[in-house]
C-alpha cells in the first residue's frame, strides 16, 4: 500500500464517520458542523485526485457558503430537535427489499467490471490548464450556469418579498 492509498483510506474513513454522525445528530447545528468536517475531507480527496482548483472551490462554496447559509437559517428560526423517523415494518419492508436488490446489483457491477479495477494514477490538472479548457470548450455552459444562478437569486428575493407584502397569515389579520 502506497502513501497515497493510505491517505485515501484515512480520508474515506473520516468522511464516512463524519457524515454518519451528521445525519444522526438531533441538534441541527451539530450536524452542520460534522458536515463541514465531511466536506473538508472531500476537498482533500479532490486534491488527491488531481483537482486543486475544485478542492479550493469545494471549501469555499460547500464548506463555506452553503454551510454558513444553513447555520444562518438555523439561527433565524427556532428549531425543535428532531429524531429519525421510526417507520413501521409494513412501510419499511418493501423499501428495504428494493434497496437490498439495488445494493446487490451495484456491488456485482462494481466487482465484476474489469475496467473498475484499474488503479488510478497520479495526475494533476493545473488551474491555468483547467481554466483555459473550461472557457475554450464550455463557455456557453458557464453562461447558462450564471443565468441559472441569477434566476435562483430572483426566486429567493421573490419569496422574501412575497411575505413582506402580506402573503403571510399574520398580516392577514390586520385591517
Amino acid at each position: 500500500m502506497t502513501l497515497y492509498a493510505a491517505i485515501f483510506y484515512i480520508l474515506a474513513a473520516v468522511i464516512l464517520i463524519a457524515t454518519a454522525l451528521a445525519i444522526t445528530r438531533r441538534n441541527l447545528v451539530h450536524s452542520v458542523v460534522y458536515l463541514i468536517i465531511s466536506f473538508f475531507g472531500s476537498a482533500m480527496l479532490y486534491y488527491l485526485f488531481g483537482a486543486p482548483l475544485l478542492a479550493v472551490l469545494e471549501i469555499i462554496i460547500y464548506a463555506g457558503a452553503i454551510m454558513v447559509l444553513f447555520i444562518f437559517i438555523i439561527m433565524m428560526i427556532r428549531v425543535e430537535p428532531s429524531a429519525l423517523r421510526k417507520p413501521t415494518l409494513k412501510e419499511w419492508f418493501p423499501a428495504g427489499i428494493l434497496g437490498f436488490i439495488y445494493l446487490a446489483v451495484a456491488l456485482l457491477v462494481v466487482s465484476k467490471d474489469p475496467g473498475s479495477h484499474t488503479t488510478l494514477k497520479i495526475a494533476l490538472a493545473r488551474p491555468r490548464i483547467f481554466g483555459q479548457f473550461l472557457f475554450q470548450k464550455y463557455w456557453l455552459s458557464v453562461e447558462i450556469i450564471s443565468f441559472l444562478l441569477l434566476i435562483a437569486l430572483i426566486g429567493a428575493l421573490y419569496f422574501g418579498k412575497a411575505f413582506a407584502k402580506g402573503g403571510g397569515e399574520t398580516k392577514e389579520d390586520e385591517p
Binding site: Y4, A5, F8, Y9, I15, L16, A22, I23, L28, S31, S38, F39, S42, L45, Y46, L48, F49, A51, L54, L57, E58, I61, Y62, I66, F70, I73, M76, I77, V79, S82, L84, R85, P87, V110, D113, S116, H117, T118, T119, L120, K121, I122, A123, A125, F130, L134, Y138, S141, I145, L148, L149, A152, G155, A156, F159, G160, F163, G167, G168, T170
Partner: protein
C-alpha cells in the same frame, strides 16, 4: 498509484446512501436539504475520480457545474423553507397538509 477505481465508487455509493437516508428519514425540512447536499457531493466525487481514471478534464468541468447547481438549489430551497415556516410555524414536513381535505 492511488487506489482502484472501484473503491472510490464504493465510497461514493455509501455516501449517496447516507444522503438518501437523511433526506427520507429525518423529520425536518433542513435535514432533507442537507441530505440532497450530501448526494450532490458524492456525485461530484465520482466525477473527479472518473476524470482522473480516463485522463479527461470534462469530469472536473462537470463538478464545477454541480457546485453551481447545489448553490442555486440551496438558496431557493432555504427561501422556500423560511416562507413555509412563517406560514405554518413548523419545520416538520408532516404538518404541510393544508392541501389535503
Amino acid at each position: 498509484m492511488i487506489v482502484p477505481y472501484s473503491h472510490v465508487l464504493l465510497l461514493a455509493g455509501i455516501l449517496f446512501a447516507m444522503g438518501i437516508v437523511c433526506a427520507v428519514a429525518r423529520r425536518n425540512l433542513i435535514m432533507m436539504l442537507i441530505g440532497v447536499e450530501i448526494m450532490l457531493n458524492s456525485a461530484g466525487l465520482v466525477f473527479v475520480a472518473a476524470a482522473l481514471r480516463w485522463g479527461q478534464l470534462e469530469g472536473q468541468v462537470f463538478v464545477l457545474f454541480i457546485f453551481a447547481i447545489a448553490a442555486a438549489e440551496v438558496s431557493v430551497g432555504l427561501a422556500l423553507i423560511i416562507y413555509a415556516y412563517r406560514r405554518t410555524g413548523s419545520l416538520d414536513p408532516e404538518t404541510y397538509n393544508i392541501l389535503r381535505w
